[in-house]
């Protein structure tokens, strides 16, 4: 079942790679030279934002307006902000009212964390990160690295755990985790990946 779904999405990815709105938009909105290179990425390369948007579109479409507002923002900053949550006792805030279980921070956080961990060797050094920070230069988004089976399994478990911790119902948490895995599976072009 999972294999057939994955196959269907592989076909969709092939279609989307030609007219993927996220990739096309990014080519125009980048404010640094580095972002221009993104539009010429091979279609098999996917970005964090795209994966998150697709997952949210599948599982929590009412969060799409929120995700769309994050387009073109610095991924690291967004990750930090999404992880920070909301302060409960802000002066002149509305107050600690109802809390919505948002899927976006969960998906973004888990995938970004795993991607950073996987691509540790290829990412910039600490010095470069500090320099970017000081210059307040927006870093260009980097394509997600390929994940192997073990990593995808870890992603799934982490998403379920985080969702449960945020108060999501178990069935929905499973659905979210499956969707994330499904969207990440196509990134793995490596012959040693999950398809084997």
């Amino acid at each position: 079942m999972a294999a057939s779904t994955a196959y269907a999405q592989l076909v969709m990815l092939a279609v989307c790679a030609v007219r993927r709105p996220g990739a096309a938009d990014r080519g125009h909105e980048g404010d640094t030279l580095e972002t221009d290179a993104v539009s010429q990425d091979p279609p098999s390369q996917r970005y964090l934002f795209d994966v998150v948007r697709d997952v949210i579109g599948d599982v929590a479409p009412n969060e799409l307006p929120l995700v769309d507002g994050l387009r073109g923002q610095d991924e690291t900053e967004i990750g930090r902000r999404l992880a920070a949550g909301s302060s409960r006792d802000d002066p002149l805030g509305f107050g600690a009212g109802e809390v919505v279980v948002l899927a976006t921070p969960i998906v973004w956080g888990v995938v970004q964390h795993l991607a950073n961990k996987t691509a540790e060797k290829t990412t910039k050094g600490i010095w470069e990160r500090v320099r970017d920070r000081v210059r307040r230069r927006k870093r260009a988004p980097e394509p997600l690295p390929p994940f192997n089976r073990a990593e995808l399994s870890q992603v799934r478990d982490t998403v379920v755990e985080m969702a449960a911790r945020a108060g999501m119902k178990p069935a929905r948490a499973e659905q979210l985790a499956a969707s994330v895995v499904d969207h990440l599976v196509f990134i793995d072009t490596d012959t040693n990946g999950v398809r084997q």
């Binding site: 009412n62 969060e63 307006p65 929120l66 769309d68 507002g69 994050l70 387009r71 073109g72 923002q73 610095d74 900053e77 967004i78 930090r80 902000r81 999404l82 992880a83 920070a84 949550g85 909301s86 409960r88 006792d89 802000d90 002066p91 002149l92 805030g93 509305f94 107050g95 600690a96 009212g97 109802e98 809390v99 919505v100 279980v101 948002l102 976006t104 921070p105 307040r136 945020a166």
Partner: protein, 954 residues
């Protein structure tokens, strides 16, 4: 933990919560004052520790004053930086980043509903999952940050989205943004300002742990705690206001503001935790949406915190303000007492108006006053001057006195509020409240100012008598009483003594009674009129009302002042006063004509339009008038008790005794008036008692004034002179000196007695007869003339007085110059008399010492020669000093005294010079024979000088 269900709430028609000032501004101002006081006090302490002296001068003093300025600049900097910090990159995403056009148009629509100009900026916090929003920024540039949870909820619950956004816009509409973030900025700077200096002192070794230990740190922690709790309380109240604005004015459905099902903790722990939170609990918010009771409630905690903050600020500012002089103290205490009464009084007025409108029991104000007083007492415990080295029982008694007076002041406020609200309707309540809060504010300032002078804590009658060079024993019993009086408030008869504020406790209600203007109040047909009408009335800025009131008060003061001038000497000032009085009368008549029109400025939608009550002041005036007559026999008995020219040649002591007798007898009559007023069944004992006692006191002072005018023509009742002549102003000061004592502490004592009596007889309290009040044209005329004259006589006399005098000087002034003004420069003759009296006293004292030495001659085993050689020369030195300086100094007085006085003066100085010469001869004597000769010579010279001195005195 209990599960509470959301009940659909709806705004009921009732009293609009904006009918009166909310008091937030005053509470913020008190925080600001506390902030500045703590900054100044800490800087002063640091400078004092560094220089090793509590008396700062020059650069050290300037630095202590500059520190609060630096703190304010720092707070302004933090205030401006906060929005940038909260809206920094990565924390929020601008609304323009969201491609959804519906979101933007909906927000535009909501801004249009709120009518905010210019529209606030919107941003989104993508990480905040709660269905909420927050507003930050500055008063001019507010920013609304919408939570991601709210954005997501919009699709499924658009009403909730609308409600939350309008709640945040209501914060901007209610002007909460600037004040909130200014408080946050102050809070952060205060934390640094409070603890960093101590840390620096400790680190650099200038200070040791013992100096900055427990006491200091406790006070600072107390301040930090108070600021935090006050800030949280203000924010909770503003949330309820914002909820009600969104629902009541912009039509938000109440259930949209409340969570659907919400677990709320209840119980004591929740209540304790609630005071730390910046948001009210959901049950409270739900209740407040249907009824505004919470916004009119009086709670103990804010009262206590206000009291503590006021007392701590007053104590912290005392040392730094001291070098500025008397006016510095006046400004300091007016500010602090004004804020304390401004906060507590506004709460009381709100409670009273709510109770009056909803038909509930009107609070008496005692409880509020006790809480406020308790706060002041706790704050005073941080004032080391009062507690160190004193028995606990004494400290407790002192603090109980402070609490009683504060409770009395707040009870007056509540009763006056009820009276004002029930008797007169249709006018601006904020203006009425302002008028009603000025007397209690001034009286509290008067109390705090006297309290913080501190020197009365160690008062000793014997010390005062010896400092004034008066004998401690063998004097009439009234002389020590006069010395004791100088420890009371009222001993500073000048404007800066603030004693004149106490009579306002009865002059203001009396004025209210005299200008009463009944209104024809149309019954409102629709409850919906209330918000509209209130909103319309609120357009008039409050500061304009305050300014208009100030102008009227100044005009009244000028009228009274010039009216007094007219009585004393006619001239342009008197004519100007007449014109002003005429204007006031015309204005009153115009107001009466206007009062017959239906009044559109309604704030009230109660069912009952006939709740006007009789004031009951007619009876109080009657009691005051009749008991005031008792003063006449008591004052006529003055020569028998206190002595007079006929019986007692020692005039200087007698004048002190006379003053004491006048004060005692009039105060006793006032106490009788207070007692009788307390026995009557008035609904407003704290209003009627000071009226009765005040009128009795004024009657007594007037009787004394008249008696002084005709002194000399009263036969055996003469006091100061036996010459019957027209001298209308010669003995006025006797009445003036008594004025401060009689009308300030005397009045407060009488009111406390009346309240005690009234409490004991409370079971006989009867229901007020509710009857419409008739207009009183003659009353208005009388008001314009009489109240101005009575009230402003005090101001006039205060203006020409100079104070405060040190206590011993006060005694000297009373004994030396019973017929002249105390102030220098006001009466050259009085100054000259005081100077000559000083010389006479010095001469008398030296002569007395010499006489003591001479008495020992022949009675002692020591040889006379030795006694003379050792003891006489110092006395001769004193006499020589007097001799050398007196003539020279007397020429400094300009204009010179009358010629006959000057001739007498020169004769006296010649006689004194002869005594001095004989004294030196005696000091040089080496045999018993020469000593005897010298003794005889001195005695004869002194005898010849005595009649001249007596003539000078007369």
């Amino acid at each position: 933990m209990t599960m509470t269900q959301t009940a659909p709430a709806s705004i009921k028609p009732g009293l609009d919560e904006r009918v009166l000032n909310s008091g937030t501004g005053q509470r913020f101002a008190l925080l600001l004052v506390l902030f500045v006081a703590e900054g100044t006090g800490t800087a002063y302490d640091v400078a004092a520790t560094a220089t090793g002296s509590r008396e700062l001068h020059g650069i050290a003093l300037a630095l202590a004053y500059l520190v609060p300025v630096a703190l304010i600049i720092a707070a302004v900097g933090v205030y401006r930086a906060l929005p940038r910090w909260k809206g920094r990159h990565g924390r929020s995403v601008p609304l323009s980043a969201f491609p959804d056009p519906n979101l933007r148009s909906e927000l535009d629509g909501l801004v249009e509903v709120s009518g905010l100009q210019p529209a606030p900026q919107f941003v989104v916090d993508p990480g905040a999952a709660s269905v909420g929003a927050v507003v930050f920024g500055t008063h001019r540039r507010p920013v609304v940050r919408l939570n991601a949870g709210l954005i997501v909820t919009r699709a499924v619950d658009p009403q909730r989205f609308r409600a939350v956004v309008l709640h945040e816009l209501a914060h901007i509409h209610n002007r909460d943004v600037g004040i909130t973030y200014a408080t946050v900025a102050m809070w952060r700077v205060l934390l640094a300002a409070v603890f960093v200096p101590d840390a620096v002192l400790l680190a650099t070794g200038v200070s040791t742990v013992s100096v900055t230990a427990v006491g200091s740190v406790t006070v600072k922690l107390l301040i930090v705690l108070m600021v935090y709790l006050t800030r949280a309380d203000i924010l909770r109240t503003r949330e309820i206001y914002a909820d009600r604005t969104a629902v009541g004015v912009w039509g938000v459905r109440p259930e949209s503001l409340l969570p659907r099902d919400r677990v709320d903790s209840t119980g004591r722990l929740a209540v304790v935790l609630a005071v730390w939170r910046t948001h009210p609990s959901w049950p409270l918010r739900r209740r407040s949406l249907s009824t505004p009771d919470e916004l009119f409630a009086m709670r103990a905690m804010p009262m206590v915190i206000t009291g503590i903050a006021a007392a701590v600020a007053a104590a912290r500012l005392t040392a730094p303000f001291d070098p500025i002089g008397a006016w510095g103290g006046v400004v300091q205490f007016l500010l602090i007492a004004g804020l304390a009464v401004g906060i507590g009084g506004v709460v009381l007025w709100r409670t009273v108006v709510h109770a009056a409108v909803t038909g509930r029991a009107v609070p008496s104000g005692w409880r509020a006053g006790l809480w406020l007083g308790l706060g002041l007492a706790v704050g005073e415990l941080t004032n080391t001057g009062i507690i160190v080295g004193r028995p606990v029982i004494i400290v407790a008694a002192l603090l109980a006195g402070l609490i009683s007076v504060t409770a009395l002041i707040m009870a007056w406020t509540a009763q006056f509020a009820e009276l004002r609200i029930k008797t007169y309707r249709g006018e601006s309540l904020n203006l009425a409240m302002l008028t009603g809060l000025i007397p209690p504010g001034l009286v509290l300032a008067f109390t705090l100012r006297w309290w913080n002078t501190g020197t009365w804590w160690d008062f000793s009658v014997q010390d005062q008598l010896s400092a004034a060079q008066l004998p401690a024993a063998d004097v009439p019993w009234l002389v020590p009483v006069a010395a004791a009086l100088t420890a009371l408030p009222g001993s500073d008869p000048g404007l800066t003594g603030l004693w004149w504020s106490v009579p306002l406790l009865w002059l203001i209600p009396l004025q209210l009674w005299l200008v009463r203007l009944p209104r024809r109040v149309p019954r409102p047909t629709r409850a919906t009129r209330v918000p509209r009408l209130t909103a319309a009335r609120l357009r008039l800025p409050e500061w304009l009302c305050a300014l208009a009131w100030l102008v009227v008060v100044l005009a009244v003061l000028c009228a009274g002042f010039t009216g007094i001038m007219l009585l004393v000497s006619a001239g342009p000032a008197g004519i100007f006063g007449l014109v002003l009085l005429g204007f006031l009368t015309a204005q009153q008549l115009w107001r009466r004509a206007k009062s017959n029109e239906p009044d559109a400025r309604l704030w009230f939608d109660g069912e009952d339009s006939s709740i006007m009550v009789g004031l009951g002041l007619r009876k109080a005036v009657r009691i005051g008038g009749w008991t005031g007559l008792l003063c006449i026999p008591l004052l006529l008995a003055e020569p028998l008790v206190a002595g007079s020219v006929s019986y007692e040649p020692r005039w200087h002591v007698a004048s002190l005794a006379n003053l004491a007798w006048i004060v005692l007898s009039i105060t006793a009559v006032m106490l009788v008036a207070g007692f009788v007023a307390g026995m009557t069944r008035s609904r407003y004992p704290v209003i009627t008692a000071p009226t009765a006692a005040g009128i009795a006191g004024v009657a007594g002072i007037s009787a004394q004034y008249l008696k002084s005018t005709v002194d000399g023509c009263l036969g055996s009742f003469n006091v100061m002179t036996t010459q019957c002549s027209w001298q209308p102003v010669r003995y006025i000061p006797f009445a003036e000196y008594a004025l401060g004592y009689v009308l300030a502490p005397g009045l407060l004592m009488a009111v406390l007695l009346a309240v005690g009596t009234h409490t004991l007889r409370r079971h006989r309290h009867r229901q007020d007869i509710q009857r419409p009040v008739k207009p009183m044209v003659a009353g208005r005329l009388f008001n314009a003339i009489a109240v101005c004259l009575i009230g402003c006589t005090t101001v006039y006399h205060s203006l020409i007085m100079e104070g405060p005098l040190p206590r011993s000087n006060l005694l000297i002034a009373y004994q030396v110059s019973p017929t002249g003004h105390v102030a220098t420069g006001v009466s050259p003759l009085a100054d000259w008399m005081r100077f000559t009296a000083d010389v006479l006293r010095g001469y008398g004292s030296s002569l007395s010492d010499l006489s003591d030495v001479l008495d020992t001659l022949g009675n002692s085993e020591t040889e006379n020669v030795l006694i003379v050689r050792s003891d006489v020369p110092p006395i001769c030195g004193e006499l020589s000093d007097i001799d050398q300086n007196a003539l020279q100094d007397s020429r400094l007085y300009n204009p010179a005294p009358p010629p006959e006085l000057e001739r007498l003066w020169v004769r006296f100085l010649d006689a004194e010079a002869e005594v001095t010469a004989n004294c030196w001869d005696l000091a040089r004597a080496r045999t018993d024979a020469t000593i005897d000769n010298g003794f005889v010579a001195i005695t004869s010279a002194a005898d010849s000088a005595l009649p001249i001195a007596k003539a000078l005195v007369d």
